[in-house]
Amino acid sequence: MVEIKVNGEICEISKSMTVFEFLKERNFNTKRVAVEKDGEILPRNLWENSFIKSGESYEIVEFVGGG
């Protein structure tokens, strides 16, 4: 069991997965998302190779249109 924080809430993941797989599983539109891991932005080219580990803290922003 992997336990992480996502947008301030504790979140348990049953199997090892990458950030990209996590975003897909949670139905995020990956083209509109930015991910912060432990206070630093994770560039999108690293999502597919970054495995989520216990104790990490993520902030996920889904941008919305309008401006």
């Binding site: 206070g39 560039p43 922003v61 249109g65 401006g67």
Partner: protein, 196 residues
């Protein structure tokens, strides 16, 4: 002293005169952020957009019927020079992409993200992650006419500030769009003053 800045904080007037801000997208957010920064006296603005002024822009963007059909870069440059003739205005009439962002932003240190599309906002966030020497101020969520108190600013990563209510919606109208633009502009001022 320039009488235009009589009601400015003199420390702000001094500091902003030597500062520079790039604005990506000159729509509801970008055109209004630019007007505010020109009034404060920010010494140099880089204005980037590829679009032309349309009638449907006028409910929230700083353009008039006189500007219909003009490039936003040209129209806004004219408006800003009428408000404050002493500032330097650079324009790039270009559609920004993952490929060309670094070309146009290499010499910029404070960048205002003011795009309409969510994908473009995500593109700038990706660029920000790779350019930690630059600071970014985003607008995200300003639709409808819900309470002003829902507007907020969040720090994201090391170098991004995001202003807005983070909610999507179908309608964009002047009050909340300008509110978000003002939040962005004041955040940019705080960055210039070194207070955040």
């Amino acid at each position: 002293m320039n009488e235009m800045y009589l009601r400015n904080d003199p420390n702000v007037t001094k500091r902003v005169a030597n500062s520079s801000v790039a604005i990506l997208g000159l729509g509801g957010l970008g055109s209004n952020v630019a007007v505010i920064l020109a009034r404060v006296g920010v010494g140099s603005l880089t204005l980037i957009d590829f679009d032309r002024v349309e009638l449907s822009n006028l409910n929230r963007q700083h353009y008039t019927h006189y500007h219909l059909g003009e490039f936003k870069t040209v129209a806004l440059k004219n408006e800003l020079s009428k408000i404050n003739p002493s500032i330097t205005l650079k324009t790039h009439n270009v559609k920004l992409s993952y490929e060309n962002l670094s070309t146009f932003l290499s010499s910029e240190s404070i960048i205002c993200e003011a795009f309409d599309s969510a994908e473009s906002k995500a593109m700038v966030a990706h660029f920000a992650a790779k350019n930690l020497d630059k600071k970014f101020v985003f607008g995200n969520g300003m639709s409808g006419y819900k309470s002003s108190n829902l507007m907020q600013r969040k720090k994201f990563g090391e170098n991004i500030y995001i202003c807005g209510d983070f909610k999507s919606g179908d309608y964009l109208m002047a009050p909340r769009v300008l509110m978000c633009a003002s939040l962005q502009a004041n955040t940019i001022l705080e960055l210039i003053m070194g207070e955040i």
